[in-house]
């Protein structure tokens, strides 16, 4: 167990240590410096791609959540066979290797680019992100319908609610946990995605993972170490907060 943890953490630990290294050496620690962090924050490409990544992730996850939740409501009310067909297609981007999804979208965008005035960039990137995000929202929301008693929606209408009000007051609270976890999942997938973005981004709109990739292609640059350290710290903070919220709500439920 501790061997596995050692294996999982040693590379990250080494990155963090060498992000404070004075020289570019990857094996000898010669002295402490914060230079790489200063350089990181002055690197306009990194900062702008970070902002771009956050904008794309926010837009894609919000749109996917709306689209996916509506879709889940509809799919849930379909007959058995159309439902099975739709769910199978929805599962495809999840089952298929990312590179296949990326390439297939690229083919589509190339086709449109040749016929319409479409350029690879922000729009194609956003479409691609929504496309791989929506299935995760649907898969998170659908089980909530199966757990829900279908008669309570009818009961609400019998008791004088309009269909819309019945939906808002009865159905929505029931499926909300699924909607939230679908949203969070698609947001993190969007932040983290490299492969699909790589095939659909073009040169005008870059995301942080693509910038990181082009940095690793060039010579050694300890700025990546500094960036990794910051991302690692951010991840640790997010997970600790998430755990704290979860354990508190669990305690409240038990109390």
């Amino acid at each position: 167990m501790s061997l596995v943890l050692f294996f999982l953490y040693i590379p990250i630990f080494v990155l963090i240590v060498f992000s404070f290294n004075e020289t570019k050496s990857r094996s000898v620690f010669s002295g402490f410096t914060l230079d790489w962090y200063v350089r990181l924050f002055n690197n306009r490409i990194i900062i702008s791609s970070l902002i771009n990544t956050i904008i794309i992730a926010c837009l894609a996850s919000v749109i996917s959540t709306v689209l996916g939740t509506l879709a889940a409501i509809g799919i849930n009310n379909m007959k058995k066979i159309p439902k099975a067909v739709v769910m199978n297609v929805t599962n495809m981007p999840i089952i298929n290797p990312e590179i296949v999804t990326g390439v297939s979208l690229m083919l589509l965008f190339v086709f449109f680019a040749a016929r319409m005035n479409l350029e690879f960039g922000f729009a194609t990137l956003l479409i691609a992100h929504i496309t791989f995000d929506v299935p995760y929202v649907i898969l998170n929301v659908m089980p909530k319908f199966n757990q829900m008693n279908p008669h309570i929606y009818e009961a609400a209408q019998d008791l004088g609610c309009s269909p819309f009000k019945a939906f808002r007051k009865v159905v929505l609270p029931e499926i909300m946990p699924g909607v939230v976890s679908g949203f969070l999942m698609s947001f993190t997938y969007s932040l983290d995605d490299f492969v699909i973005s790589y095939f659909t981004s073009g040169s005008t709109s870059q995301t942080l993972p693509i910038t990181i990739y082009s940095m690793t292609r060039r010579k050694v640059s300890p700025e990546i170490n500094a960036l990794s350290t910051l991302i690692f710290i951010a991840v640790v903070i997010v997970l600790i907060v998430k755990n704290a919220i979860e354990s508190r709500s669990q305690k409240r439920r038990e109390a």
Partner: protein, 268 residues
């Protein structure tokens, strides 16, 4: 107003951006530049048989190593006290939240010719060894990146196994090896199959890990596809044909995995 119409916007989206692009892969794979039907590109894929064999072989090794490492880890995790499990699981999964490029980059610096492993070996008078740009480095990168994908499904089935199962096996005279193979393994089979698919599918289709850790001499299917679309050898027909064959291989493997797991579909 019927509720099923709520899904209309998504259905349009699904057809345009999921179904049509996949059909375009099939279309490009079976047509030439003039738009006529041809199996030329599909048969051209045969020229790259060595790359396919290498991809399948390396990702099978990586999947096997992941299974061997993850199995005891998942078991130990599932037998911990309940309140410790959550924290421990978080610690195991935490590295996965870093972007995989950064994790792979970390191994680049560790394994490099001037990297820290060779430096430490040099201090005791060994090496330097050629660690990076080998197929072993590619397998290592796959294992490191996808290990959590194996641990998680295994843990989630093992956690549900009742402790009294082991006590019963023990009472009935099973040795611990017998308990492992006749009780734990059969009960954790759904986790094993879904763990294998969750590691094997990304491993066989990766193109970054092989490029960063394998140098130029360890091309995988993913690299081959990428080269046809974004590289100098721009040839979307061949690229689509390779993607098509890759999809078929994965479909076959998932069908085989489903055979081992009669009750449940392999869940991703």
């Amino acid at each position: 107003m019927k509720l099923k119409y709520f899904s209309a916007p998504y259905l349009v989206w699904m057809i345009v951006f999921i179904l049509v692009p996949l059909l375009m892969i099939a279309y490009f794979a079976f047509t030439g530049d003039d738009g006529g039907f041809t199996v030329k590109y599909i048969s051209d894929v045969g020229q790259y048989a060595n790359i396919f064999v290498r991809s399948i072989w390396l990702s099978l090794i990586a999947t096997a190593i992941c299974l061997v490492i993850a199995y005891p880890v998942a078991f130990i995790l599932s037998r911990m006290e309940k309140h410790k499990q959550g924290t421990m699981l978080m610690i195991v999964m935490l590295p996965m939240w870093m972007n995989f490029l950064l994790r792979t980059y970390a191994w680049m610096t560790l394994l490099g010719n001037n990297g820290i492993i060779n430096y430490i070996l040099g201090l005791v008078g060994l090496g330097p060894y050629k660690l990076i740009n080998t197929s072993a480095a590619v397998v290592l990168g796959m294992v490191y990146n996808y290990l959590p994908f194996m641990i998680l499904p295994l843990y989630s089935v093992m956690e549900k196994i009742d402790k009294s199962m082991f006590e019963a096996a023990d009472d009935l005279g099973c040795s611990s090896v017998q308990t492992l193979f006749r009780v734990i393994v059969p009960l954790s089979m759904p986790g094993i199959t879904s763990g294998i698919t969750m590691v094997f599918v990304p491993a066989i289709s990766t193109f970054i890990i092989s490029r960063m850790l394998g140098g130029g001499s360890n091309l995988l299917i993913g690299d081959l596809i990428e080269m046809q679309f974004l590289g100098n050898a721009y040839n979307p027909h061949l690229g689509a044909a390779i993607s098509f064959v890759l999809m078929v291989i994965i479909l076959v493997i998932m069908t085989i995995m489903n055979q081992f797991d009669p009750d449940e579909q392999v869940l991703m």
